[in-house]
Structure formats: C-alpha cells, structure tokens
Symmetry: C2
Subunit: 257 residues, 2 copies
C-alpha cells in the first residue's frame, strides 16, 4: 500500500498546515496486518459485512468506516444474493458485493443488527446461520452490532459466553444461551459483540487497532473526527427516562417495513 | 402514522420490561411535522441526501439514521443518475433512488462530504451546484457534513456565513467565502454545517428535533444508543498529537480511489 498521491500533494483534505509524512509515519502506517490478523494467502485482511433484508444501515456502515482504511484491510459486503439489500426502513439500499457462497474464508465477520422483522427472519434463516458457523471456524474476529448478536447466538456461537446487544433486546441474549454483559462492546476470545447501532463505531475503532496497532486505531478515530457531542444526552438506556424509552420503541416500530 | 404492530406486540426489539405505549406517548410521537418543517402538499417532510462518486458513507448514513424514523419524514437519496454510487474507498455502493431532476422541492437537503477526488469533482460539477442552488431556494433546512460544506460553498450558499467542515479542510472554508467557526455543527439561518464524518450523527439528531420536537430528538438519540465511548480519545483534532494527525491523513489518502 503506497501513498499514490505523493507526499507533497495538498488539497481539501490535506490543508492542515505543517503536516509532513515522514518515514517514521510511513512505517507506522504499514504494520504487518497479515501477521496481526492471520490473513490468508492473499496477504490482505478480508472483512465481510453481512447484509440482510431489514438490517440497520448505521450498524453496518459504522464498522465499515472504521475499518476500511486500515492498512491491508479489504471490506466486502455479502448477502444471500449479491445486489441491493434494503434497510429496516426500506428507504435505503446498500449493495452486497458478493453472495454467501462467494465468501468462504473472511478474516473478520461483521454482523449488523436490524429491525424486528430482519433480525427474526435472519435468526431463522438456516442458510445464513450455516454460513456464519462455517466462516466462523476460520475467522480471526467474529463480530456483531446491536441485535446482530442474537443472530450470532442463533447460529450457536455464543453459548455460555458474555455478550451485549441492543438495549431493548437485552433479555433475548439469555434466550440464545449467552450471558448479557454491559458495555459498548464485549470481547470474549475472538468474538466481539457491540451494543446498539452507534456502538458499532466504538467497536470498529477497537477492531481497527486489533487488526493493526493502537496508533492506527488512534488515527482512525481522528479520521472519523469521532469526538461526539450527543445533543440530548439520552443515549444511555440505563439513564434515559421512561417517556424517552417508550417513544424510541414506538418510532422504531412505526418506521419498520 | 400508526403503530402497525399494535401496542401489545413484543419481540426482540420490544423486550424492555414494563414499556407501555400510552396515549400521551402516541400524541408526542405524532407532532405536526408539516407545520414544523414547512412540508409541501404531500404532507410529508422530504429529506434528500445527495450522493456523488467518492462520498464518505458515514457522512450520509449518520444523518439518514437519525432522521429516517422522525414522524412524517421520508428520506430519499439523489444523485446525477439514479443507481449505485460508490464511496471514497470504492468498497461500498449505496443506491441513489432518484436522479437530480426527479427531486425538485425537498424540505431538507443533506450534502455529505467525500474524499479529495469526490469533493473537488463535485465542487466543480456545474449540474450538481445548480441543482443545489435551485432546491435551496425552497428548503427549510440545507445541511452538510464534513467537506460537504465546501460543496455548499462552491454553490455560493455560504458567502459571509459561519460554517464548519472536516478538520483537515478548515482553511478551505475561507476559500468558499465562509467564516470557519468551530463546533460539531454550526447553524446559521436555515443552513447547518457539521464537522467531520461522525459529526453528522450529532447534527442529524439536532435536526430530528428541529423537524419535530425535542422529545423526538431525545428518543432518536436513544434509538441509536448514542452513548459513545470513543476508545482512544483522539477524535478531537485540536488535541490530537501530530503523529496521529499525520497518520490519519495518510490513511485517508492511501484508501482513496
């Protein structure tokens, strides 16, 4: 991976005064991801983001954005069939680049959550669950966001393990045999489950460092300008008031297709 | 907008014990968005997210996720041509539902940022700039994320106005005639510019409240479980160290196509 633009190129993304990309930085930017992540013969780390009808867009795009610039990483999207997959509101379509049979040995699996319909349908989709079990045998990291952990659980991957999920779905963690554990993300062995929707960004940045080194994680956090200032401070379900919780659930249900 | 699932339905997204959706909540969940946002004859608030080759996925998906469940809001994606539009890494494709001529009177315009190539090409794309100018005449809110503010600026919308942008692009705000102003987002009249990438989530939640009421903003923040814990605390460009800044810029350049 080389700086195709040359180190002197300046443009709208390069305007920060005084930035020089010296040899030390170049070395840091090119760790040996194959060694760190156990990449296959391709020498690249393949991250497969599973898409399914009714997934939640930010669940998938948060980790994608955190991982797609990590040296040596190639992110791909996969679904039962290649082509457009609709989100839980039906208002957005994201392309699955590949079908399940085309992705056999990803180094990293990312399973986003979805609305009620998409999650429960996927938890009952034998073909997807069998694919998850098969690729998990060889992954370096198997991860989920939001209700994606219930899908990992339905595939039998979380039995007896600590895991998190979307706040409103916490009781279901037990039903798939896992032990609900609080946290923006919960790492156990080579499985990482993230909490709801936006927690995929936190998990993705953590994973970026795991796949490379901490300096890359730090740089990606800055690349996303991830210095959040949630405007209402109601994002923590443990402190949100009941009215806000009830309305959130209503808006989710009303927007579902 | 009604709860199509009925108030007694419970499922993986409804598991939070003790939640009841009473009449008071139902009333809150159905404010009069047409009045609040100045919607057209359709009675719905149309949010148009502009896509262009080389846009940054999270810039577009953050606001989409914050807005798509606001009562009365319909989010659509628009590009020069309808169909798949590739992101700045080339690794993800998101569908534009409509072409520019098909979207004439959106209530809200959202312009994401992009990589160097996508941003500069769009800043020089007379057809897109003319469309932005035309729809801006009637929008209730015209918004941008990251380098999207430079595109609004290139369209002539920011002359003399306070605005923000991606951290590395701050000097360019002046070049499009605006006054760089710090903040996760900067609201001036009916224009809101957000800082880099993830700041679109903060802005989107703020806008959700503007389009409805604060209670909906609070509920959407919880719906996204937006209680962030950035793992490295390096997302603030004003406090990030020089090595992190330089590596972030290098990773951005290296991942661009």
């Amino acid at each position: 991976m080389s700086d195709r633009h040359g180190q002197d190129r300046r443009g709208v993304l390069r305007a920060a005064a005084g930035v020089t990309l010296g040899a030390g930085i170049a070395a840091t930017a090119s760790p040996a991801p194959a060694a760190a992540a156990g990449a296959g013969d391709s020498g690249r780390v393949e991250v497969a983001v599973l898409l399914y009808e009714g997934f939640t867009a930010l669940d998938a795009v948060g980790p994608y954005e955190a991982l797609c610039r990590v040296p040596g990483v190639r992110v791909t999207t996969v679904a039962t069939r290649a082509g457009l997959v609709r989100t839980d509101t039906g208002e957005l379509g994201i392309a699955a680049e590949k079908s399940l049979p085309q992705v056999t040995r990803p180094d990293v699996l990312v399973v986003p959550g979805g609305g009620e319909r998409g999650t429960t349908a996927t938890m009952a989709d034998a073909r997807i669950l069998e694919w998850i079990r098969r690729v998990h045998r060889h992954t370096v990291w198997t991860t989920s966001i939001c209700t994606g952990s219930l899908i990992l659980g339905a595939a039998g991957l979380l039995r007896g393990l600590p895991a998190t999920t979307y706040w409103a779905s916490r009781p279901y963690v037990k039903e798939v045999g896992a032990v609900y554990t609080p946290g923006r993300f919960v790492e156990t062995g080579r499985i990482i489950t993230a909490a709801g929707v936006s927690a995929g960004i936190d998990m993705g940045l953590h994973l970026a460092a795991r796949l490379s080194d901490e300096q890359v994680g730090r740089a990606m956090e800055l690349a996303l300008e991830y210095d959040p200032e949630p405007p209402f401070r109601t994002g923590d379900p443990d402190t949100a008031d009941e009215r806000t919780r009830a309305l959130a659930l209503k808006l989710l249900a009303d927007s579902a297709v």
